[in-house]
Amino acid sequence: MAKDKKNYNPFKSLIWKSIFRTAVPTEKRGRMMQVLNNVFLHLHPVAVPKHSVKVKYTWCMGGLTFFVFLVLTVTGVLLMFYYRPTVENAYTDIIDLGETTPLGIMREIHRWGAHLMVITVWLHMFRVFMTGAYKPPREFNWAIGVILLVLTMLLSFTGYLLPWDQLAIWAITVGSNMAAATPLLGREGPGAALVSIGDINLVTPQSDAKFGLLGESEVRGMALLRFYVFHCVAFPLVAVVFMAVHFWRVRKDGGVSGPM
């Protein structure tokens, strides 16, 4: 027994194997298997070409964007413990997040991070364009990236309303007026009068595209709640799915594009 105890190797134990599926890697194949067998690592390539880790070439903008997204997720979840999306509480809760909450900088990190993410997304797109990394076989991943750009802007836009100050309310009023100008489905859009049954107009301030976004005819409490749910749940979930596809396609399309 004493001899067995002395030879006990935790890296060959049942617990290790049940968690990591493979033994501690001792050669190249083992290291590859470790990446392939890990749900968090498998989206990433097992091996990357040397040029793709050159910061001068990629600026690491895609990676930085993902990092900022993670920061925003963590700080955003923390803010949700204090922020209440109601007309009575929203504005003062934001003030309190800066004035009375421990580490009052948390809300500012979230706000700065949001600005930073738009900048890094833009620079990432710029780099991809300038290095021709949108060309076949990567053209589909460019399209996925455009969807992620739109999601980034939608997250920015919905987060903009949550402080519930004058800037927020009027910015969303102006923004959601674009929905009111939707052809056929917007109250002020071209052809809205055509969508009717007899004399009853179906596209009204209380049934059009802008109403669908806000949950009411103008920006008030229901719009605040709706934007809060879009901002904290719906858009991040959709973004995560598209990010998974985006990263996986980087690997499948042959890794980061090489210098010409």
């Binding site: 009027w170 102006v174 007026n177 301030p205 669908g212 005819s217 229901m222």
Partner: protein
């Protein structure tokens, strides 16, 4: 082919024919698509509530005699976002929504104009734009006299000057 002979041993009952497979797959996928379509419809409908906890688009605004000639009433601005304007011979209701980007202008009685705080658009008492970026006059809403003699307004119907709507009989009341 003789290598495959043992497969033939499977009885007809467990064999799936090509035709049968395709028709069952079609039924399966169509059912799935219909379910997903129905669910998407439910999600869309769910976002439009049956009961609205906001002021009705149509409301009553007192009797015409309450309004002084050549004055602007701001009594319904906060709740309904309309001004009720009485000129010499007419009463009409202006929607308090700037035609530039949709902010709410203020009535400045001293300067006899509506002024938008967002980008400085100015409108005369009639609603005609004359300064700032607003591209067209304020909109008027439907106005009529209800059976009880009170003014009835309906914001769902608007009248635009640039379309010649302001001559429409539903866009003003004669007094």
């Amino acid at each position: 082919m003789s290598d495959n002979a043992p497969d033939k041993q499977i009885s007809d009952a467990t064999q799936v024919s090509r035709r049968g497979f395709i028709s069952w797959m079609s039924i399966g996928w169509l059912t799935f698509a219909a379910t997903m379509g129905g669910f998407a419809t439910m999600v869309g409908r769910f976002l439009f509530p049956n009961v609205l906890f906001e002021p009705s688009q149509s409301f009553k605004a007192g009797v015409p005699e309450e309004y002084q000639p050549n004055s602007v009433s701001t009594a319904f601005k906060a709740k309904q976002r309309v001004w009720i304007v009485r000129t010499d011979d007419r009463i009409f209701a202006l929607l308090a929504k700037c035609t530039h980007l949709g902010c709410t202008p203020n009535w400045l009685a001293n300067e006899n104009k509506f002024k938008c705080p967002c980008h400085g658009s100015g409108f005369r008492i009639t609603g005609i734009n004359y300064e700032g970026p607003a591209p067209r006059p304020l909109e008027r809403v439907q106005i009529s006299l209800a059976d009880d003699g009170r003014i009835q307004l309906d914001k769902a119907v608007t009248f635009r000057h640039e379309k010649g709507d302001w001559e429409h009989p539903d866009s003003y009341l004669m007094v």
